[in-house]
Structure formats: structure tokens, C-alpha cells
Subunit: 276 residues, 4 copies
Amino acid sequence: MPRVLHPGPEAPGWRRRLHEVVFEADTPAGRRFDLLLLLLILASVGVVAAESVPELRAAHGPLFRKVEWLFTGLFTVEYVLRLVSLRRPARWARSLFGVVDLLAVLPTYLALFLPGAQTLLVLRALRLLRIFRVLKLAEFLAEAAVLRTALVASRRKILVFLGAILVLVLLLGSLMYLVEGEANGFVSIPTSIYWAIVTLTTVGYGDLAPQTAVGRILASLIMLMGYGILAVPTGIVTSELMSARSKIPTTQACPDCGAEGHDADARHCKYCGQRL
Amino acid sequence: MPRVLHPGPEAPGWRRRLHEVVFEADTPAGRRFDLLLLLLILASVGVVAAESVPELRAAHGPLFRKVEWLFTGLFTVEYVLRLVSLRRPARWARSLFGVVDLLAVLPTYLALFLPGAQTLLVLRALRLLRIFRVLKLAEFLAEAAVLRTALVASRRKILVFLGAILVLVLLLGSLMYLVEGEANGFVSIPTSIYWAIVTLTTVGYGDLAPQTAVGRILASLIMLMGYGILAVPTGIVTSELMSARSKIPTTQACPDCGAEGHDADARHCKYCGQRL
Amino acid sequence: MPRVLHPGPEAPGWRRRLHEVVFEADTPAGRRFDLLLLLLILASVGVVAAESVPELRAAHGPLFRKVEWLFTGLFTVEYVLRLVSLRRPARWARSLFGVVDLLAVLPTYLALFLPGAQTLLVLRALRLLRIFRVLKLAEFLAEAAVLRTALVASRRKILVFLGAILVLVLLLGSLMYLVEGEANGFVSIPTSIYWAIVTLTTVGYGDLAPQTAVGRILASLIMLMGYGILAVPTGIVTSELMSARSKIPTTQACPDCGAEGHDADARHCKYCGQRL
Amino acid sequence: MPRVLHPGPEAPGWRRRLHEVVFEADTPAGRRFDLLLLLLILASVGVVAAESVPELRAAHGPLFRKVEWLFTGLFTVEYVLRLVSLRRPARWARSLFGVVDLLAVLPTYLALFLPGAQTLLVLRALRLLRIFRVLKLAEFLAEAAVLRTALVASRRKILVFLGAILVLVLLLGSLMYLVEGEANGFVSIPTSIYWAIVTLTTVGYGDLAPQTAVGRILASLIMLMGYGILAVPTGIVTSELMSARSKIPTTQACPDCGAEGHDADARHCKYCGQRL
């Protein structure tokens, strides 16, 4: 949520108050609103999920439809409140969160004209991305910061790594297509590549499995490779996490002996006893 | 096991001795009792497990019933001894371990009135939680402390991480329901979410697997994602374990202010500056 | 790509310029050429993969053949340009990249005489190895160097580890062949070894699974072992990565003896003692 | 191989020489002998594996039998040479390696009287444990030492961890037996426990998979748990490996400034330039 979105200094009091509730997560009111909203989103996603179960839909169809309209009503009100509380509502409406919030209510209205459009209500799950907003609350801030720092720092190494995986999977998939052939289920190169990914990530559904001796030897090599390869992203993230940890805490130096590495709650240098 | 549970200073000698045996794990007698009890629990769980195998039940049914009554008798005696050795037995009976110990004997008695109730004897496996009490023995104390410290410290990061996984799984599951549809086994959103969890954790049963081209591409992305995501909790736990290792060793208290938790290389108290 | 490959100092200007474009990756022109080539390779691999899908081949067969000839033509021109720009073209033609580049065009020509030879066009995927050349571009250099240093340093430990895995898999496979036997699908020792690898790496296709009680107990032990064993390569790579991180930065040579490989915090050459 | 095994000081020269070749791995002759032996063992295991394949046995049965006798002859000669070269041969014959070496030749002789006994030749794979002896060669010594130190140091933590896994698997297996029941394939508690291990280790064969809604929710929890649990042994081994690394290298201090942390190949202090 970009910070530039605010009601403006000349806005009337009720608008500023409204903005504080629906957009801010730092004030008690804003926090309670965000948590309540998150619960509502979870409940609405739960209802959409439950409705997709054939037995439940047959038994409680009309009830589901009513609850759906209730949630759509609540989210529509929320959407309007958000628009009203901003100085430049159009700007927010075009942002990621604005579009997602619109997508969460649109399908129910669309279904009045286009039967079946409410299947798109599963898009409501996208609103759960809002959970990351709530996670920005004080107590999780430091943890999330460490995680984010580590992941951002690993970005390029992970990209190099994914590039290598991509080449490997294309090569191995093509090779298995030649070795196993269409008779054993490897009907095309894309299918073989899909199999190579399923195997290399150790998921191993078993819908496709090598049948020939050569294919099994090749598959064994891929698995052992996957075993070793799995170690690389873990190593990258771990080493970045440890590096991020050591950067986030206090790095204040002792004014007397210059030593660093003091704990965040330290009041005296642990080496010379000088007050920090 | 809370330390406040004791027979009281005015208790007669036999009661104190009994308490020492059945509740303490530091004295030789208490230690031997705990180990014997653990073996009995393992044996009784083994018997319940064996009885659940149709062939074994058909062949040795009456024998199993007798052994079951033997174990129930022994555990009942132990339960009564525990109650007798305490000043406030009701308090212990309502604690976690008290309830578990009662659940371990109740089903056999219940089965006298309610046929089939002894299936609940599998609850006896809960008594195995007692293994952690035995693990508190001296030689494992430091290791367990390091592990516990690391896991407690990772708690919040793991929560942030599980929140992200939850959102991801809801989104991907909903998406696959739209893409694959009921014809390919993705009969409802909850089923699709179950599939997304099975795939993201690289378990990959294969009872559900994508059939369409789009579904397979999406599944491949999920797998590669799961691959990278797997690295995060490992990185968190590893970095906390390494941090816990360097913090555990000294438990020396400051001679001046009594504060604990100094690093192994600290020469001065980090709170008051006193020489350690 | 060995650095000794160059047009020679006495080469005419157009040849030097050509060499710069097709072989160098540091100049703007060479870089653009490499990226364009990579896109072409990806596209040609995509076409080969698409042609292997029976439905697509049936619908667009003639089109695929035309596009194939187009790519073959482009790659042939590129191959000839590479030969022309070098002083000793035969030397490059016998190198890994030279052979791969030839293999990428040969199948189409061969198919004129040998119907079916164009299946070998999947070998074109090998040209994707060229991606690592593009990755050598400036911004990825440091990341790739850290990864390579860590992997090279882990090489021997990984070999020791793979040796242990090999022995384990041979032993466990043989054992399962005796325990489960041919009736349960473990038809031979090689098949059992294949199963052991599938299980130990946690891929778990499910095409082979133990049926007897003893076989399942043995399989459970293998799985728990695989769980623990998975930790070893990860530990190796992580610890090497963290060590590589702290070693990479300085590549400064000693002004006195020319030795390299000094730590980032080194102030004197560790070989001759000269101030750096 | 215990070092106390030697021919004794009063042994004749040929015996000492023989001992050096068949038992030592440090001398050039002993090293060559060990490598040759390892290749022979690998080849003989390969023949036993090949013979277990029905098609190959049908086609080349008599050949396999001849090669088998050849290997048995060679290993028998080696066994006798080992006995002859030692002062106390009985002591070695009762050691682990002595028993394994006997087991490697016995089945072929037994098969003369007991048809079918040669199936036991798969035990020959045990001789591959000898690979660890060869790994003791100079260049792998340091790597193996780091790995061994780390694994020995992790031993207790891994035990605590495996205890926790055991309890978890017993509890979850029992629970799934109650939830899913015999109709869905969870025919007994041991079978359910087997399923819990297959799931928790992310192997996921798919021969057993939850069918009911409650069972799938429970299974999802187990998988996410397994995901997090996988992180613990990795964290343990990584942190021990990093600790082992920092202990094995040179810890020599500079005689001038007292700084530590010099590389193994350093000849001068990297901080002050003083000769080490």
C-alpha cells in the first residue's frame, strides 16, 4: 500500500478519521479493522470453497447464495468507503490492492447477467494477500525484515540457480523422451520436461515413471542430482539469513575499546565494562 | 511436569519416598521407575497396534485381551500411587499428564459397558509424550536446551512463513480448480487445496495429478516454488541453532546484579559492567 | 570458451570485428549478439518440443518443417561465421562448444538422407549451455563466483558422501530383493536398487512399494535415514557458501610476489609478508 | 580395521611384505591392492545383480555361474592370504571385516550342497563397506574427518530428534487409523504408522492416501509439519559442520601480534607480515 495515499491536509475530520480506520494499520482502530477484515475474507473464501464441494452445494445451495450476497455487500461497502476516504480515489483503484478489491466483489454482480460467473469468486482468495499488511504489525516487523532482507539478497543467486535448473530440465526431459519414448507414457518433450521437474523436485507423483533399464538408470542419476541440487537454495538462503541477522541487530561500538557485536539489550560493553 | 507438585513438608516418610520414585527423574530410583514405565508404555502401545492387525486379532484375540487387562491393571495402580503421593491430587489429575494418564486406562473399563470402546486404547500412545521427561536426564539436557532455544527463537519467523504458505496454497488450489476442473479429479476447492499442499511439500502421492497442459505448467511452477520455499524454514532453524549454540554455554550469573544470559566470550556483565 | 581462441594480431579488421561480435561477451555488440542467439536457441528448442506433441504435429506439420529449416539456416550461417573469424578454426571445431554447435544443425541435413534423424534435433537443447556464457555478464559475475567457489570446495565432501550413498543403496536394494521378492514387484536386484534410490531421495513414485510387514519396516528405516542423510549435502554446501562469501571479495594480487587469494581483512601477503 | 592386527616383529620378511600389501593402505603397493580389490568387489556385485534379472539369467546362466566361481576363487585366495599374513588370524576372522569377507565366499560353496544358497551372494555387497577404507587415503582424510566430527557431534541432538519423530509418528498413525479406518486402506495401526512415516518424510508413494475430508485435513497438517521438521536435522548438521570446520584448520597464532585464523598454507601473518 503506497504511503502517498492519504486524504490530504485539507480533508474534513470525518474523512481523516475514516482513512485512519480503513487504511492505517498502526492505530488501534485501524488494527482492529484490519483484523476483522481478514477474518471476513477468510470466512468468505471458506464459503466459496465449501460451495465448490458438490455434496454441500446440493444440500445448502440457497444458503450459500445468501451468504455470498452478504459478503459481497460488506465488501462493496468497504470498497466504497476506501474510495471516499481518499483524495485521489482513481489512483488507488488502479493500484494492485484496488484492482484485487474490485475483483473480489465483481463476480457476484456479473453472475446476475452471466450465469456461472460466480466461479470467479475464487479470485477472492487474492484478498488474502492483505495478510502481509497485518503482518506488518509491530511484533512481526523485525522478523519479516530479516526474512525479506535475506530473500532480496539471495535474489540473484537464486536466479542463476533457476537458470541452471531450467537448462538441466530441458536437457534431461529431451533425453528421456528419446530413451523411454511414447510407448512408456513419455508422449512428447513437454510431457518429459514435466516429468523431469516432478522428479528433480522429489515430488514424484508416479503418473509417469521410467520403465526401461536405461530410463531407470538415467532417472536415478536425476534423483541423486536433485538431492544434491536441493542443497544449493537452502545453502543460499541460510547464508543470507545469517548475514541478515548480523546486520539488523545493534552494531554500536564501545566508546572505550571499540569492540562491536553487543546484544540489543546490552547497556555495558561486555569486554571492558564501559557504559555504551 | 510442574515443580509445584510435591507431597508437602509435613508428609509422612513413605509418601515422600513414593513421590520421589513416581515423580522425580533425578534420583536413581526415580530414573529406574521412569525407564521401566516407558518400556511398559511402549509394550502396551505395541500390543494395541498388534491387536489392530486383523490376522493377529483372529489368531490371538483372547491373549491380547488378557495382556490388555494386565497393562490396564498396572497403569491403574500407577495412577492411584501418583494420586496418593501428592498433597493436592486433584490439581495433578486436571493437568495435561494427569488427563493423559487417565485416558490410558479408561477405555478398557468403558469397554465393559460400551463394546468397541477399547479402540480408544490407541490414545495410550499419548503416554509416550512421557519420553520427553526421560530425555530431561542429565546427558541430554544441553542438547535439548539448544534445540528448544532455537525452535522458540524461530517461532515468529516460522509463523510469518506459515502464513505466507497458507495464502499461497489457497490461491494455487483455487487456481488449479479453475484450470483442471472436476473432470480431472479436482472435484472441489478443498480437494485442490489438499493437492496444492501435497505438491508444495514435495510429498506427491499421485492420487491427484494435473492432466491438462496448462495445469502441468502451473504444477511445475508450484513444484519449483516449493523447492525454493523449502529452503526458508531450514535457513531459519539453522541460523537460530547456530545463534543458540554460541549463547547457551555460559549460564554464569553476574556477581553484582545477578543477571544471566552472558555470551561465552563476555568478560564484563553487559547490564552493569561488573567484571564476571 | 578458451581465451586462446582469437583471430591473431595480423588478422584483417573485419575479421577482428567479426570475432568481437560472435565470440566476446564484454563488448556491447558481443553482448547483444549473445542475447539474441540465446533467444533464437530457446525458440528453436521450443519448436522442437512443440513438434513432438502428436496433436500439434498433425495440425501444423509443414509449418514446423519450414521453421526448422529457417533455424537450421541461421545456425549454419552462425557456425560458418565462427569458423571464419578464427585463426585456427579446426581447434575450436573440436572443442565442446564447437561440437555442440555442429550437432545443433547436423540432424536437419541428415534427415534428407535418413528419415527420422531429425528426432536428434532435441540435441539442440545442449546449446542452452550457452546460457552460462551470458550469465558471465558483469552483474552476475560475483554471485556465480560465490556459488562456483562453494561447489568446487564441497566437491570432495560430496564425493565421499555419494560413495556412502552408493554403498547404502546397493546394500538396501539387495536386502529388499531378498525380503520382498519377485511376487511384490521387486523382480531383480537392479530394480530393487532403483527402488532404494527412489525412496532414499524421497521422490517416491509408488510404482514399486513394499507389501510385506518386514519390507515396510525396512522401508521406514530407509526413509528416516534418507531424511537425516538429506541434511548432509545441505550442511556441506551451506558451510562452504558461508566460507566462500567471506573469501571472495578481494582478488588483489601481492605487489611483491604476485600471489592471489588473500582474505578480505588481510593487510599483508600471507606468502611473503609484503604489505598489500 | 584395528591397528593391533600386524604380523609381529619376529615374522619372516615375506609375511611382513604380504601384510603390507593386503592390510595397509598407506604404501603404494597396499594402495594399488585396495583399489584393485574394490574394483573386483564392484564387478562381482554387478554380476550377482545382473544374474538376478530373469531375462539375463535365462540367456547367460552358465556364463554367470563360471564368473561366480572365478570371483569366489579370487576372494578365497585373498581370504587365505589375509589369514596367513597375521600373527593371530583367529582374532581377525572374528572381527567385522573378517566375518564379512567369509560371508562373501561361503554361499557359492554352500550352494554345492544346498541348492538356492547362492541367493545369499548379495551379501557380497557388504564388502563394499571396504570403500571407506580406501577413502581413508590421504586426499580424502581431511574431508572425511570434518564430516565424521560433525556427525558424531550431532549424534545426541539427532537422537532427541528421532525420539520426537517416533512419538509423533505413533500418535499420528493411531489417529489416522481411527479417522480413515479399514475401508480406506488404513487396515491396521502398523499400516497407519507406515503411512505416517511415508508422509512425514515427504516420500509419498501413494499406495495409501487419505480419502475422507477429516483425514485429508489431518494429512495436510502432517505434511506441513514434516516440512518444518525436515529443517531441524539439516540445521543440526549444518551448525555442527561449520563448528567442525573452524576447529580442524590451523589455529596457529602469530608469534608477533598473536592474531589467529591464518589459512593452512599461510607462511606469513596476514595482519602484521611476521613469519609464522
